[in-house]
Symmetry: C2
Subunit: 288 residues, 2 copies
């Protein structure tokens, strides 16, 4: 199994790829302020890329967002606004701020620049292993899956691209199976980076074209995946980054003997959470 | 601070670089068997590189060697022989096996191919940051320090290269200060990858030319360095890989404001040891 590691950079997630693309586009359009809703990783990346180019950045997050990610965003120099119960509430406020205050709105996964940035991962995957059989991609909003899926579909048509979601946040998977947007009521997963309730129709349309399948994984498998990566690869990852490994753990026969790659998309996890989920063998129920 | 990460490869240490060089040289000379003494990382790397090219590999280790490393060597297909209290005893037996059984002897750090392999790290450091000020290199036998030191000295003469050893295994540092080989009686460090008692004269000669300084660090700083890398970089490393960070923690004023790089040279550490040294806040005295 090949691990594509996207955690060893200053923002500790793959989101820097999209953020660089977005910020370049925003500056071309003369923006001096940007706003986005984020579970935390896009917010960090956008702040890192934006403030380095003299842009003011506002990040809207849910009141339940990962405190570590929020601290890092503040440390990097953005203004953080907290709103509502989950990412969907934050998305509404971000849109409002963009309209009333004239900030450049970055909508993760809908803004094609966020997908194009993530797509560069796909270019590297195909360059490094043209014979790959399967790419397992975590799906939150869908930017990574649509970007990587598009590239792999185009350059390595023989390979399968499979989107993976937590069973506790299955909205995009349900939508993909149904072929139309299905919203859900609740988010019940530790994988905060891959947790949405309201799929964006345009992103669903893209995923219907570029993904071969979508699959769901349980919380225990996510923790087992994090544990395996810690023990066998020496890496701390956040739950979203372990979704691909979780899929292999749940369906070993499906992937046996194939050249499988998964993208370790982020490592922004509170040490206390990591300890509880991964390091304590008797770890029981999840905190969220 | 820049981290040069050498843990994310199949043998989880920088030793693969030297092993590839050594095995190529051994095959040119028609060898079918190889033997080396190793604390574990060279043994793994040589087995990985050698068995893939059809060579039989024997690794001699001390009876006190890291069991995880020995397991991995066996899993990779080498024969493991245990001998004596520490690496110096293992080196004697390896030489004997080479003579009596006609195996190609790889003496880490003495065999220039092991240094040349490690030197490629230096090429990458200078390519990626020509303006670097300081390179902190862990010193065990000295292959990495002499290889990297030679390259940095040659291509980035303005930069300082500083060797770091555990205070509990200071033989090469003492020798370097004295300008002649000083042997010690005991090894008292958790940094098994950087633990020797009997410096090789030829290696000392090279380090006298290519290092600007050598410094010692304490066991608590090594653990604190491992902890910092786990928390801030999301990486599991073995103690030897944290020596550079430990030096910065002990002498912050010396390195403040400078472009400092250190090489994270390996991550072969037993999970139980890692938990004891790094994850348990009340971790007391070291096991060894």
């Amino acid at each position: 199994m090949t691990l594509k590691i996207e955690t060893l950079n200053p923002v500790r997630s793959f989101k820097g790829r999209g953020a660089e693309t977005v910020v370049a586009a925003a500056r071309e359009k003369g923006a001096s302020r940007m706003v986005c809703a984020s579970a935390g990783n896009l917010g960090q990346a956008l702040t890192y890329s934006g403030t380095r180019r003299g842009l003011d950045v506002t990040v809207v997050a849910a009141c339940t967002a990962n405190p570590l990610k929020l601290r890092r965003i503040t440390d990097l120099g953005a203004q953080v606004r907290l709103e509502g119960e989950d990412i969907e509430d934050a998305r509404l406020l971000a849109r409002e701020i963009a309209e009333t205050e004239g900030a450049y709105l970055v909508e993760d996964s809908l803004d094609l620049a966020t997908c194009e940035g993530a797509a560069t991962i796909g270019l590297e995957l195909v360059r490094d292993d043209p014979a790959l059989d399967v790419v397992l991609v975590a799906v939150g909003g869908g930017a990574m899956a649509s970007g990587v899926g598009y590239v792999v579909r185009s350059l390595a048509g023989h390979a399968q691209v499979i989107g993976v979601q937590p069973a506790g946040a299955p909205a995009m998977s349900l939508s993909w199976r149904r072929g139309t947007v299905v919203e859900t009521d609740r988010i019940e997963t530790i994988a905060d980076g891959a947790a949405g309730r309201c799929p964006i129709p345009e992103v669903l349309d893209d995923l219907l074209v570029v993904l071969d399948d979508m699959t769901l994984v349980g919380e225990d498998s996510i923790k087992a995946g994090m544990r395996a990566l810690h023990e066998h690869a020496g890496l701390v990852v956040e739950p979203s980054a372990a979704l691909g490994i979780a899929a292999v753990l749940e369906q070993p026969e499906r992937f046996a003997g194939r050249r499988v790659t998964t993208i370790l998309c982020g490592s922004n996890v509170e040490p206390a959470d990591f300890a509880q989920w991964v390091l304590e063998p008797s770890a029981g129920t999840s905190r969220r």
